[in-house]
Amino acid sequence: MKELDNLVQAGRIHRTVYTDERIFSVEQQKVFSETWVYLAHASEIKEPNSFVARKMGLRSVIVTRDKENKIHALLNRCTHRGATVCREKKGDKTPFFTCPYHGWTFRNTGECAAIPHQDAYGENLDKQTFNLKKVPFVSEYRGFVFATLNSEKGKKGIKDHLKSAANRIDEWIDHNGGDHRAIRISGAQQYTVHANWKCLYDNAGDGYHPEFSHQSLLQMTQQRYGAGMDLDYFSGGIDSTPMYSQSLGNGHSFLDQRPCMYENSAFERQRPQPGREAIVEQLTNEVGETKAKAFFEMATGAGMNINIFPNLLFIGNQMQVITPLSVGLSDMTWYSTAVDNVPELVNTLRIRTQEDFTAFGEPDDTANFEACFKGMQEREVDWIDISRHLGRKEDSVGEGGTVTSVISSDIHMRTYYEEWKKLMQSKDNSPLS
């Protein structure tokens, strides 16, 4: 797509990058196939023979764990007539999937196990030619399962692709208790957004908007709980705070709110969750003040926005997964996380905390994403501006090629669009294409 050289420029993006059906169609191949796409967390398919149904871009994929504990991403399309083989969202004790139409049966490795009345296909039928197609490369980093159709990236594995983002994920896991306290998914909140998927992704590293988009949250909190609370450090001269934004390579990016949010106690900044007082009292009695305080911080958001291009965002203690449904419709799912090996009260407090932003912050964000997409339909105004702090001399290059800028910089959008354009203009490199 040569035309993208004109449509994606250093400090601005043409509106049709968001609105053009043809570009959306190419994205399904180039972005949602030929780079690593997040599919699921290992805790969702903890037991052998369990599965979850997911989307990889527009593709319907069954993510399975076979009896040998190997994870597969099977294309959920019967190789016989095309019917959806698996029609459940999740399950366990499922070594086989049987297509409801003619009873063709497949192992959870994708292998074709049985074709009813097979003799009518002749003696020499090789069932293996009817195996479910698979996304050829599946790779896990510390419980996060990704897949790609790209041979070159697939062979190198996910860690190579994550680059410096892997270190940030490590820090996020450390906030949540480290290896001896594995996280698990504790449900999901799922929303549609009537906008192109990139309108959502744009915002993931936008340190400029909270002071404006989140006025309802900020004003309500100030009125009811006074100053020094959640997100109020985003007001005023934010670029002179120690918070920063960073490009991590391969389109990934990072916003660090910790220098402000965790300057003292992040838990004390948190709007009071339902049941807070009772849990604080009980937990302090049970484990003592020092240990309890550490648990309270763990129950509060990590203060890290880690954005793994193109579809996985770490926000607080949640993971937001973005899935395009059509050029103007997106699935925004927030996965809640809980922690193993802690008193269950910690998780109750943590889950109540995770319900906060989706009630008080995200609805106003969504309203603005949808308003942007509406505005992008106007043919007379061409450009989306991403030039904030473009060419800032003080931006510093660090280990692994990371670039660090101030918190309100548009570096997040510039870095992911660089990767997006590279992918969109790359040659096909998929064994399935």
Binding site: K89, S186, G187, A188, Q189, Q190, Y191, T192, S213, Q215, S216, L217, Q219, M220, Q223, R224, Y225, R271, P272, Q273, P274, G275, R276, E277, A278, Q282, D331, W334, S336, A338, E344, L345, N347, T348, I351, R352, Q354, E355, T358, A359, F360, P363, D364, T366, A367, N368
Partner: protein, 200 residues
């Protein structure tokens, strides 16, 4: 609180402890019981009438965005609960779409009242319809109920319909009945949701 002049300052909220969660799980099961309510378990007619009037008023006040009066329908120690699963699981272990004690419910109203809650601009108009209401006697001074609901919502000139069933626990406080627990079970609780920042 030292700030006695302002009614919007929050109060401490101490009632949601493990025992209260246990009580919620008990209600969660009770609302899903089989068969018609035996006559012997039905509440006194006057209590039933009072609770029905309250359920209808609560729905109407939400529709009319008379949110301060709407909050008054709720007991000081109440829970407003929209599960993210169907049927609902234990909210101690799984996230919900919304789960508020009275304090966080007041936060929700205060956010809308700032006038800069962009998810409610333009204002979302709603109409609740409640039907198939079944009542039974709960604990002393408690009436339980379940009902089907349909909500028609108008936002940005477009209609959409939400539906499901709602479980209630009403309690008598002084001479008045109040909502102690309202659990809203959307039939698509575990599917993609639209802008639901009004009150269900």
């Amino acid at each position: 609180m030292t700030d006695t002049n302002s009614s919007i300052r929050h109060q401490d909220s101490t009632y949601l402890n493990d025992a209260y969660y246990d009580q919620l799980m008990h209600l969660n099961k009770d609302w899903q019981q089989d068969g018609p309510v035996p006559v012997i378990n039905q509440p006194k007619l006057e209590d039933k009438q009072a609770c029905e009037a309250l359920a209808f008023a609560e729905a109407r006040l939400a529709d009319d965005l008379r949110l301060e009066q709407w909050l008054d329908c709720y007991h000081d120690k109440s829970i407003y609960w929209i599960p993210a699963n169907y049927p609902a699981g234990d909210p101690r272990q799984e996230i919900t779409l919304e789960f508020h004690d009275k304090r966080r419910l007041e936060d929700r109203v205060a956010r809308i009242r700032t006038g800069v809650a962009y998810s409610m601009l333009p204002v979302i108009r709603t109409r609740h319809v409640l039907g198939n209401i079944e009542y039974w006697q709960g604990e002393v001074n408690e009436v339980c109920a379940r009902a089907s609901f349909i909500i028609d919502a108008l936002f940005n000139d477009k209609h959409r319909t939400l539906s499901g069933w709602v479980g209630y626990s009403f309690v008598k406080k002084g001479g008045d009945w109040k909502i102690s627990v309202k659990q809203i079970n959307l039939i698509d609780a575990d599917c993609l949701q639209e802008n639901n920042t009004f009150f269900l």
